[in-house]
Homo-oligomer: 454 residues x 2
Amino acid sequence: MVQTKFILQEKDMPQVWYNIQPDLPVPLPPVLHPGTGKPVTPADMEAIFPMNLIMQEFSPERHIPIPEELLELYKIWRPTPLYRAHRLEKALQTPAKIFYKLEDVSPAGSHKPNTALAQAYYNKQAGIKRISTETGAGQWGSSLAMACKFFDIECKVYMVKVSYNMKPYRRIMMETWGASVVPSPSPDTRIGREILERDPECPGSLGIAISEAVEDAVTHPGTKYALGSVLNHVLLHQTIIGQEAKKQMAMADCYPDIVIGCVGGGSNFGGIAIPFVEDKLNGTHKDTRILAVEPASCPSLTKGLDAYDFGDEAGMTPMMKMFTLGHQFMPPPVHAGGLRYHGMSPLLSHLSRLKLIEATAVQQIETFEAGMQFAQTEGFISAPETNHAIRATIDEALKCRETGEAKTILFCHSGHGHVDMASYDLYLRGKLSNYEYPAELVKEAQKGLPKVNV
Amino acid sequence: MVQTKFILQEKDMPQVWYNIQPDLPVPLPPVLHPGTGKPVTPADMEAIFPMNLIMQEFSPERHIPIPEELLELYKIWRPTPLYRAHRLEKALQTPAKIFYKLEDVSPAGSHKPNTALAQAYYNKQAGIKRISTETGAGQWGSSLAMACKFFDIECKVYMVKVSYNMKPYRRIMMETWGASVVPSPSPDTRIGREILERDPECPGSLGIAISEAVEDAVTHPGTKYALGSVLNHVLLHQTIIGQEAKKQMAMADCYPDIVIGCVGGGSNFGGIAIPFVEDKLNGTHKDTRILAVEPASCPSLTKGLDAYDFGDEAGMTPMMKMFTLGHQFMPPPVHAGGLRYHGMSPLLSHLSRLKLIEATAVQQIETFEAGMQFAQTEGFISAPETNHAIRATIDEALKCRETGEAKTILFCHSGHGHVDMASYDLYLRGKLSNYEYPAELVKEAQKGLPKVNV
């Protein structure tokens, strides 16, 4: 029998998160205060985050221990399995070896609970009673809803309106785990009310929803804000994915030539990639290609400006140096709602700047074609976001068929598509569209980039 | 660290299915031909099933080897994890130890692929090019669709119309795996057309859908029929669940005092229970309670007649001795579509007759309450069918709280509820109903039981 899954036991689970910051050859550019334009201090961020998470955001420690109570909760679904894609390889007639890390097996169906539970834990430690957040497709919101329920914290989710209407199942999941969910823009915040006044039909965006959730945290006592991607501490929590994957690749007696993940804000990609970037930096595996895959219609890494920008639409968050399409850019309504973000994690932007990672952009219909081929060979139905990683994986494997190279490819299967079947329905009926890169809209949005003086 | 999951490696997967027939103290009553009323022969069944599966249906062998090619495919998700429900136990303040076998992790989201793949495999071996089947909630149809795709067999699914309309995501899943799906009753069969003529608004039932699928198989060359529950060979394939669970309970240094599963036709319950019935029969664990849980509105085991009846609405199938509400009984529209069946597996009916298993019936709202408590403690959102097993498990654990007994309870977590969120929405909005046992309708339906002379 050939082995399909590489399975770790609970006792083999990593006990620390890997913080790449001390290993960076050039430190991260400072984060700037939205009011003063000066580098933010931890104290500046206390209005929206608890201090223990802020300290992780700036930590100089290479390894940060995962608290015991959190490890207990990770065991609900971790370690996750690593798969060898035997049947996909055969269908592609490729000499490449394809592996994927299946993060779908969490109760929320994606990698997001890795950080949702961690953030709920640290908020609980800090005495926080209520957390506000935004969500696009709902992967993050549902993960945080579950995490808050486990730690007995109230949870309020601002869900991008177009997703709220298109993905009712995600909304119901959040409510099943006890969260309160409103479509964003909502009448519950000043910013939401202003936008609704200007445009009652506004479909919303992640940028707007972040503005609302941040305002909510700032204006409600005992409430902090939580973000499911972009920030250093979020990617830190996700490094458990790549650390497990390294152990499992060793069980398979392999090391990846290419590591692939889809990127919106960057959390699942960072999670699988950063422990492999560590090996590039320490010289044990210098030549590994690390490939981020984004939607052609929202291509921050491949087409964005490397500039300071806000994380949200209203310009309430600190300014971060990152690849950005402009915080006022409204991405086209692709079904991969989790990838509809104007910016890119500053840490991943930095790795891109240092040429430690590369990026590619793919079109929507092609991602669903890849997802269909994956479902019909490997069985699993994938989230539209994940289909981006599958598309790039198949493309790399097909290149190997041409060149005859037996490369080893590892990708992060970030989530299942069980609640995204309406998107598959459109694909199956030939009603899915591609979206050209909206160059003019981006140019317009980038006019709104903040002026900074560093 | 306490252990949450008990994980087997692929090499630990059972290599045989356990056939209980040779161990039964009293043999199963014969199955009767619908036309002649005489015991059916294997040849009689060849119109709808391939001979290799028919031979399994009647096999006297205790252990039937699982073919190598099938083991390879089982490895897509098997062995499945066994969980200790630490957080649920704590919430219930019970001294009971609760374990569950998580069958959700298959790509189709339930235990059904255990037999779907096996049936597709044997049909392929027999040269069959096309399979017809019925599905209620869609768990079975989607599993067979996936299995047929893996074996390059065409798949036609008759989906009970009320589910077709209420659960579009399941329909889209089947189509994603390449199946053709129609709402039943459909204009594609003579029986469907007749029913539609009498009642164009007929919501359908499993019994009707089975009639259509059987007619389809009989009238299309190269086509056989596949059934996802009820029959001996189906329960045989599912015994891999209980065999794995026994190994995993041993890893946890435990043996269950009570084994629980929900029952419609009986496949997940049979799968987990039968290997434990083996231990009752061979005397190693005589006192294990084995508890089947059914909906109060469709209670074949607890209120049905022990009689010969047809498996389908139109009376096309052989007649089986089973607990039945009458093949013309139309169960109320509970959300656990997979449990809306008039009869009960003849094998499980026989085990009930021999007092080797017991049964209980529960109300719909109470099952969703149980599912909510499970989601909020263990994390996983369960199928409405599975919520029946959770309800009974919680009730047994609460009895332990009263008596102080530290019983060990094992239940089969047969599937996830990701595509059943509309039902949770109704529950959360207080719009879910209970259904009284429809005694008059059952009495009426049972007038239609066939007369037999054995």
